[in-house]
């Protein structure tokens, strides 16, 4: 997904000289092609995220199209007020590219777990939140952002899920088995749902990409008795909350069950896959929920 992002940004720069790229001193081994091509339009702001966001807004308000890059919680929580006041209130054309989200930096510890970011970004007026699951969705999301402009937030992981068939940037059907149960995953945790289906009685699977086209999401929810939401995020304000809001808005009847962090820090040390298992976010946790539903 990161390589896809880099290639897309290079493509945008060829089309539009006003495209600029800002990093908070991160991206070693990944951003060099951008740095080489962008020259003075690539700016490393140093380890100073508050200023990175204000600076990016200033550029954008002066006719630039800004992609602002960092990892983990740094481009969201560290500079939340700058995002709110400087980017969102001014409707500045700034896209925050966030790599290493969710539990991707598992063993590095909780300071590097970005598990509240969707919630924070979703509550910002004007902010468009995108959580692609795979390289193709990343491409489509960036194309959309290039076209309609920021403020936008794109939550990525280095490697995407094994899904090649997205058709849109809202919600994609990944597998359809005519089940009355579906898993809706947001981000690369989609892989856990795909893995579940490989060895178990199959359910339908979706990838939810953006958090602001409610009607399309409602169309999916309407089809199911049970929806299991899957996210590497706190249960509050992320995917589960969003689906509940949509359900309520459209008076739908499906039961929504969350697989998410339940208001806890993932303080156990482990790789992303191990933490997903430990905190009940993986294929096994999905299996347990499906079995519980089928017992009813």
């Amino acid at each position: 997904m990161r390589t896809t992002m880099v290639n897309k940004v290079l493509e945008f720069k060829k089309k539009n000289d006003n495209v600029m790229f800002v990093t908070g001193d991160l991206g070693y081994g990944a951003l060099e092609p951008i740095q080489d091509m962008f020259k003075e339009d690539f700016i490393n702001c140093g380890i100073a995220e508050q200023n990175m966001i204000s600076f990016s807004s200033g550029l954008a308000l002066n006719n630039k199209k800004v992609f602002c890059y960092s990892i983990s919680t740094f481009p969201t929580l560290r500079c939340l007020e700058q995002i709110r006041n400087d980017v969102c209130y001014h409707n500045a054309d700034v896209t925050i590219i966030n790599i290493g989200t969710g539990l991707e930096y598992g063993s590095l510890g909780i300071t590097h777990h970005s598990t509240e970011d969707i919630g924070c970004m979703r509550t910002m007026p004007n902010m468009k939140v995108y959580v692609p699951s795979c390289a193709k969705e990343t491409e489509m999301v960036l194309d959309e952002i290039y076209k309609i402009g920021g403020p936008s937030f794109v939550r990525l992981n280095k490697a995407g899920a094994d899904f090649n068939g997205p058709t849109n940037t809202t919600i994609n059907e990944v597998e359809n088995h005519n089940s009355n149960i579906c898993a809706i995953a947001s981000g690369t945790i989609l892989q856990e749902a795909i893995n579940y289906n490989k060895t178990n009685e199959k359910i339908d699977i979706y990838s939810l990409v953006c958090y602001f086209r409610d009607e399309k999401v409602a169309e999916v929810l309407r089809k199911y008795d049970y929806v299991i939401s899957m996210e590497e995020h706190q249960v509050n304000c992320g995917l589960y909350s969003y689906l509940c809001e949509v359900k309520n808005k459209y008076n739908l009847t499906c039961k929504i069950i969350p697989l998410a962090l339940k208001g806890q820090f993932a303080s156990k040390v482990g790789k992303q896959s191990e933490l997903r298992a430990h905190y009940g976010l993986d294929a096994n946790a999905l299996k347990t929920e499906v079995l519980n539903i089928r017992k009813k």
């Binding site: 003075e40 339009d41 700016i43 702001c45 140093g46 100073a48 508050q50 200023n51 966001i53 204000s54 600076f55 990016s56 807004s57 200033g58 550029l59 954008a60 308000l61 002066n62 006719n63 630039k64 007020e81 700058q82 006041n85 400087d86 209130y89 001014h90």
Partner: protein, 274 residues
């Protein structure tokens, strides 16, 4: 510079500011009076911003980072003819765009501020965009000295120096007071001019109420580095009972206070030759 014009502008601004803050029962009159002479000189004499170009790409950019003094910017814009004076009546009231902290919904205001420590980073972004596009526009940003407690100010100035932004002009309204008292008793930042010099800025100092000195200093620049003007000011300047009194960071003037204050401002500028 047209000294008499600037003097009249500063006086009119302060009188309107006192009236507006009194009528609306708003706060921050001390900080507003502290920064007004700086804004009068910037708008009236230094910046390329006027009634006919304030929406055009040729204009200079001004950011009031100490957004709580927003009334001073509204009044400067009114004096410049950019803002209709009748709009000032809506300040702080239901349905108006003139919020207490400065708002970009108001014609002539580039950005909204109010949370401190945002304006300089925004200004650095504007200035760099002008720089790489080889445009002559200058960027001016006014901060409070108390605002310099914010770490983001120093994040921004480091980048401005790194990017060699000689089109960036930072003015510190150095009134030596902040929300709960004198800065030396809260966070004593020592000599701010020396601090900005240590960050490799071109630093100038002047009396922030001396219109001639401001006019000279605010026009200075040095190739390859941002300029920081530390303007030494007095909170509540020109009104005897407000000067250096933290109460007027909060208290709104009564009708009687306002009348006395306006009289003192008129006398101050009648006798002013600085």
């Amino acid at each position: 510079m047209d000294f008499e014009k600037l003097k009249t502008m500063a006086k009119n601004m302060k009188i309107n500011e006192i009236k507006m803050v009194c009528k609306s029962k708003a706060s921050h009159i001390g900080a507003i009076l502290s920064v007004s002479d700086i804004l009068a000189v910037l708008y009236g004499d230094v910046m390329n911003v006027n009634k006919s170009n304030f929406n055009s790409p040729e204009r200079d950019i001004f950011i009031l980072s100490k957004g709580h003094a927003g009334v001073a910017q509204y009044c400067a814009l009114a004096e410049m003819g950019i803002l209709d004076k009748s709009i000032l009546d809506g300040y702080y009231t239901y349905g108006s765009d003139l919020s207490g902290h400065v708002s970009h919904k108001v014609p002539g205001v580039e950005v909204s501020t109010g949370a401190l420590g945002h304006g300089l980073g925004l200004a650095v972004g504007y200035a760099y965009a002008f720089k790489i596009d080889n445009k002559p526009n200058q960027v001016y940003v006014v901060l409070g000295d108390g605002e310099c407690n914010e770490g983001s100010v120093w994040e921004a100035i480091m980048l401005a120096v790194q990017l060699k932004l000689d089109n960036l002009h930072v003015v510190i309204d150095n009134n030596k007071m902040q929300a709960l008292g004198f800065t030396k008793d809260i966070i004593d930042m020592g000599n701010l001019a020396e601090k900005f010099k240590a960050f490799n800025c071109n630093v100038e100092e002047c009396d922030g109420h001396n219109l001639r000195a401001l006019s000279n200093v605010l026009k200075t620049k040095k190739t390859g580095v941002p300029t920081v003007v530390v303007a030494h000011t007095v909170k509540g300047k020109g009104v005897s009972f407000m000067e250096n009194n933290i109460l007027w960071h909060y208290r709104n003037p009564s009708e009687e206070n306002a009348q006395t204050a306006i009289k003192e401002i008129e006398e101050y500028y009648a006798n002013y030759n600085g």
